[in-house]
Subunit: 142 residues, 2 copies
DNA sequence: GTCTAATAGTTGTACATACAAATAAAACCC
DNA sequence: GGGTTTTATTTGTATGTACAACTATTAGAC
């Protein structure tokens, strides 16, 4: 059944969740090659890009709760992809050599993912849509 | 931090999830008055509207996996809001009198939720946006 | 300088959701 | 009509996410 045929196709709650689930599935497939969930991958990429970032900053950029970042880092640390060093109340997160090694493959997954949905949705249209979505999300407040 | 300032504000995965989380939060607040999560509420409303529906149909309309519907029903049954009757391999789901009793309050929550986000996002614009979102979701396939 | 308040981070717990496997019933085939 | 395949539903298990409570550290007030 298509989303447009659903009884709730006019409801923002239903439609935004349905979209997110579908996109998530697509993303999961794209990152299966590196054995990471999309959120873990995005977090890892951020850490590689900005070594020494603090969890709070990461949480802000990824728009997740600090506790969620903790949980994601737990797993990345277990996989020896990041290390945390605490000094005082601040924590710095660094990528391991192993993480830097797989960076090319991470980027591959990313562009494959982008390519896949751009193809399905149309590059231009998709760009506009994402932009619109961001605008809406921002309006909804903190 | 606003979504538009995030490092990933151009990425469909990130933006659709960020939107869904925010909308979900708004929805959760709206349904707190009846002590239900949004998904439980939507499922219950469907059952009230269409008594005797089968889980499979409900799953299709809500775009969730059958197993998820099972889990949601579990809780609604525990709260004595629905009952399930199985005949053969089919299951029929019915609302209890208690569910019908709170229907007015459910509808209140729904229209309060609609009102709230329509006010924030703009009624017209929001309508267009939701429509667009559904189009995109449908394109992403089954 | 001490005491209080704010801040950063983690942990306990809960929840919605999904996938895969299990069950059970129905439909189909010959 | 007996055996096989398909279908509907439920469980076992795992995962991402959040909130609330907790710890530990820093900043501010006086």
């Amino acid at each position: 059944m298509k989303t447009s045929d659903s009884r709730y196709s006019k409801c923002l709650y239903f439609t935004s969740n349905a979209l997110a689930r579908k996109v998530d599935k697509l993303a999961q497939e794209s990152w299966k090659k590196v054995n990471l969930s999309p959120s873990h991958a995005y977090l890892l990429m951020m850490v590689i890009e900005e070594p020494g970032s603090q969890p709070k900053i990461l949480a802000e950029h990824l728009q997740l709760q600090p506790s969620t970042i903790s949980r994601l880092m737990e797993k990345l640390e277990l996989k020896k992809l990041i290390i945390r060093t605490t000094e005082g109340k601040l924590t710095n997160v660094y990528p391991t050599p192993k993480a830097k090694e797989i960076l090319p493959r991470l980027n591959e997954c990313l562009s494959e993912f982008y390519g896949r949905y751009a193809e399905i949705l149309g590059k231009e249209e998709c760009g506009r849509f994402v932009h619109n979505m961001v605008k809406m999300t921002d309006k909804l407040g903190p």
